[in-house]
């Protein structure tokens, strides 16, 4: 049973578009065939990687609008609302109903709508006397964005900053944890699995894990719950494991430069919701879509950049050969032109006509990636990203670099952000940092025109001056020579279930087991499937590494990776600097709060 998150989410959405009636392909004449879809910004982001506009039409959706847009009445149609349950959306719905914009309203909320909001909705409707317009109210439990089959994001911004903010009170922290738990609950509900939960002790990961465990226990108490349809999987073989981590577990992955295709495109060109905008060859901006329907992207996303360029070349040559062959077979070969060959020629012509669409598509894909690779190459050369990636890798493996080399890099090519990231990687990779080093680092950073950001270095040093220095050392030890991330090793160990000093201290939660039972050993047994969740921000490097792990196993295992948001290195460092400011490290006069 391979968990395919994207497919399950698409199924739920299809059912919703069918007005929550069972999807019937032969379908008798359904009176409510044409409908209008209305969503809010969050749900729009969720729908855009999943469904194209053409597919919406297959389900009878004629128009689709944002809920905030000014809309006019359309008679005769039911309206399907798909929004987050919050105050402003409810107000808008009440407004629409009171103006009788549509004949009937089918309300779908991306997560469970709480009772107070339901009451607001009811009172609003009663006051405007439009209660008869509401047909149905549904909770869809779909509050997450699935980018690929095994990759999801909760699209919750700045959770790292909020969780580590020194001025945040208990209340705020609880709210954030609640939001994360709600998102995770939606993912599990869509997959219809009750996993075994494991996480390291202490920190946000344990808080989220225990809150999620509680929520699932409460939910499972009712007989007809979301998970009962999945069947009862008693043995741990069938249940997946949910591993929850916090970003602080491995900071380096969020910051370092990587040289593989997918992380490069995300980091350098800004891939968002599987869409990308790059300057085209003729000058304008071109927008591309990069998802699992693009065969080149799927096959070559995890290759290093030079190999990708070679692959594009190969594909282009193959395409040219195929086109030449088609031309040869159907082209005017005058000397062979007699009656006998006419039939053969026509057959070839028919084949050629049939293969034209496929050839055009291949050419489009090749052109797309050529364009992307060209723009990438320009950026790489300008910022010498290849040397950053290599030196950072060397630093992590060897534990520091020569001081002169460090200074030369800081004086060399690259944007301010690149140098900053390099400096932070240096701090992470070296174990002991003498004070003089910090000063000179500050000086060279300042001279490289990043005066305002030199405080980051202060912050980083202080952060590691705390007990987290132990984590740093631990992180470094976990790294092996073959570039495996600490996360990947830990997940591997957790999935195998053998006693392992690294993970033995990890907490275990099982929502199905009664509270009093001890952590039965069979629950730690080998798992075929895993869901890995990173609080605070993840990226394509981790995703790629986990996929490699899954494919490497015998038999092939299955890993789903999710995070609160997908961040580029630059975005994460921005959050870190924000955190540094909040910690009061911005000005030299303010004493550190910790």
């Amino acid at each position: 049973m391979a968990l395919n998150l994207r497919q399950k989410q698409t199924e739920c959405i299809t059912r919703m578009l069918n007005l929550n009636q069972p999807v019937n392909s032969t379908g008798t004449a359904n009176e409510e065939v044409y409908k209008i879809l209305i969503y809010d910004k969050y749900c729009q982001n969720m729908l855009s990687p999943l469904i194209h506009v053409k597919d919406l039409r297959k389900h009878g959706v004629t128009l689709y609008f944002l809920i905030d847009k000014d809309r006019k009445p359309v008679h005769d149609v039911p309206a399907v609302y798909f929004v987050q349950p919050n105050q402003s959306n409810i107000q808008r719905i009440v407004n629409d109903a009171s103006h009788s914009l549509y004949d009937s309203f089918h309300l779908n909320f991306s997560s469970s709508i709480p009772r107070p909001l339901l009451e607001d909705l009811a009172s609003g409707m009663l006051n405007s006397d439009s209660i008869n317009r509401i047909s149905k109210v549904h909770d869809q439990y779909l509050e997450f964005v699935t980018l690929e089959e095994n990759l999801f994001s909760l699209a919750q911004k700045s959770s790292y900053v909020q969780l580590n903010d020194p001025s945040a009170g208990d209340r705020e922290i609880e709210e954030i944890i609640e939001k994360i738990v709600s998102g995770l609950f939606c993912v599990l509900a869509t997959l219809a699995v009750v996993p075994i939960i494991r996480c390291p002790r202490g920190g946000p990961a344990e808080m989220v894990a225990s809150a999620l465990d509680q929520r699932m226990r409460d939910h499972l108490l009712s007989k007809n719950n979301l998970f009962s349809e999945g069947g009862n999987f008693a043995s741990s073989f069938q249940r997946p494991i949910l591993c929850i981590f916090d970003r602080t577990f491995e900071l380096s992955v969020g910051i370092q430069h990587d040289f593989r295709y997918r992380p490069l495109v995300h980091d350098v060109l800004g891939l968002k919701l599987n869409r990308l905008s790059v300057p085209g060859e003729k000058g304008g901006m071109r927008s591309y879509e990069l998802d699992s329907f693009d065969p080149f992207w799927v096959a070559n996303g995890s290759l290093e950049f030079p190999e990708v360029a070679i692959e594009i070349e190969t594909q282009l040559n193959k395409y040219k050969k195929d086109v030449d062959e088609v031309n040869r077979r159907t082209g005017g070969n005058a000397e062979e032109f007699d009656g006998q060959d006419l039939i053969g020629n026509t057959k070839h012509l028919m084949n050629a006509v049939n293969s034209l669409p496929e050839l055009t598509e291949r050419k489009q894909v090749i052109d797309k990636h050529t364009n992307i690779a060209t723009v990438l190459l320009g950026e790489i050369k300008e910022r010498s990203l290849d040397s950053y990636a290599k030196k950072e890798y060397d630093m992590m493996v060897r534990g520091g670099i020569d001081r002169n080399e460090l200074l030369s890099v800081l004086k060399g090519k690259g944007t301010k952000m690149d140098k900053l990231r390099f400096a932070i990687m240096f701090l992470i990779s070296t174990e002991s940092i003498p004070q003089s080093e910090i000063k000179s680092l500050n000086v060279s950073l300042a001279s490289a025109n990043s005066a305002s950001r030199s405080n980051i270095v202060d912050w980083a040093e202080k952060l590691y001056g705390q007990s987290i220095s132990a984590v740093t050392a631990g992180v470094k030890n976990l790294l092996s020579n073959d570039r495996q991330l600490a996360l990947t090793r830990t997940v591997d160990a957790l999935m195998e279930g053998r006693p392992n000093p690294e993970i033995d201290s990890y907490v275990l939660y099982d929502p199905r087991a009664p509270k009093s039972s001890s952590g039965a050993s069979h629950l730690k047994g080998p798992f075929k499937e895993a869901i890995v969740f990173m609080i605070g921000g993840g990226n394509y490097v981790e995703y790629g590494s986990l996929q490699e792990l899954a494919l490497r196993q015998q038999p092939v295992k299955h890993v789903i990776y999710g995070t609160t948001e997908i961040l580029t290195g630059a975005e994460f460092v921005e959050q870190l600097s924000l955190l540094g400011q909040k910690m009061g490290l911005g000005s030299s006069s303010a004493p550190p709060t910790h």
Binding site: R15, N20, A29, E31, V33, Y34, I36, R57, G60, V61, T62, L63, R71, K72, P73, V74, H75, D76, V77, D103, S104, I113, R115, L118, E119, L121, A122, S123, M125, L126, N127, I131, N132, I134, S135, K136, V137, H138, D139, Q140, Y141, S222, N224, N225, L226, E229, G339, Q340, L342, I343, T346, K347, L349, M350, V353, N354
Partner: protein, 314 residues
């Protein structure tokens, strides 16, 4: 599966409670709750009725094709004539559906034109959203029709493929027989020369002449047959190609419709955008005129100070 997700019962509960707290009396409560159970029969516009009818016809067409599919494709179940008649019926059906869709399309643009008449203010029933929605319905219908047509085109292509395949071996047979036929006249000619010298009975000569004529005729007829069959094959191929082309053309028509719909939706934004732009331009030009006038009216003695001021104004 959807049981737990359906909150409609919860909602009704909440409505009941809220109504109580607002002090609704019994009859009002009853009417509200009953409106949940019994939905008022929707009054459909003529447009929707027509659209649903068209949808029904397309579904019927699909079913018809499904039913006769086996007969059509399998070589030995039907004759060529029956296949032709199936094709003919389907073509008529497709044309009828296409006409219905065209009528719907024209009714939208007709309504659009009518409503613009009075001071450019659109009537209640034909705002931008409704028009876009109607275009959407028409587009969905034509896409549906197109997919059914494409299915049938595939069946047709298979039929022609079979026809072509059948022709090829026959052609080869004809080739062999025609090469034999060319040899016969030679032998006839050689035989004809011989009777010149001896003096056989005139009957035999006459019979031989008749035989020769028959054989010559035979050769001529078989070569004619050859030519005719060849032409027929070519015709079959040409029409097969034609059908393939027509599918692609139909696809193009679809794309054009799509562009049209997008244009309709975009006009509402572009109109606003254009208005804003023209207002901004107006404001810009009027302010510039004002400033120029202001500056020019100043006495020239102001001199360099004014000249210094000018760049700062913009």
């Amino acid at each position: 599966m959807a049981k737990i997700r359906d909150r409609t019962e919860d909602f009704k509960d909440v409505v009941r409670q809220t109504a109580l707290s607002l002090g609704y009396n019994e009859s009002k409560m009853a009417s509200i709750l009953s409106s949940f159970i019994i939905h008022k029969p929707l009054q459909r516009t003529s447009f929707t009725k027509a659209a649903l009818k068209t949808l029904e016809s397309i579904r019927t067409l699909e079913q018809f094709i499904m039913q006769h599919r086996k007969d059509y494709v399998d070589m030995h179940r039907t004759t060529e004539q029956e296949r032709d008649s199936i094709e003919h019926e389907v073509t008529i059906f497709i044309k009828a559906c296409k006409d219905q869709i065209d009528i719907l399309k024209n009714s939208i643009s007709g309504e659009e034109a009518n409503s613009r008449g009075w001071l450019g203010i659109r009537g209640d029933h034909s705002n931008a959203d409704t028009i876009a929605h109607k275009h959407g319905v028409v587009l969905i219908l034509s896409e549906r029709l197109h997919s059914v047509t494409a299915q049938f085109d595939q069946l047709r292509a298979r039929r022609f493929q079979d026809a072509i395949n059948r022709r090829i071996p026959r052609k080869k047979m004809n080739r062999v027989s025609s090469s034999n036929a060319t040899e016969i006249p030679k032998s006839i000619n050689s035989e004809l020369r011989e009777p010149d010298e001896p003096q056989p009975e005139p009957l035999r000569v006459q019979q031989q002449l008749l035989d020769d004529e028959t054989r010559a005729l035979q050769v001529e007829l078989s070569s004619l047959l050859d030519a005719v069959q060849e032409t027929e094959t070519q015709m079959v191929e040409m029409s097969a190609l034609n059908h393939l082309m027509s599918t692609h053309i139909l696809q193009q028509a679809q794309q054009i419709e799509l562009l049209y719909e997008q244009a309709v939706e975009a006009t509402s934004n572009v109109e606003l955008g254009n208005k804003e732009l023209s207002q901004a331009i107006q404001r810009n030009s009027s302010s510039r005129t004002f400033l120029l006038l202001f500056l020019f009216e100043e006495p020239m003695e102001m001199g360099c100070e004014l000249i210094d001021l000018q760049p700062a104004v913009f």
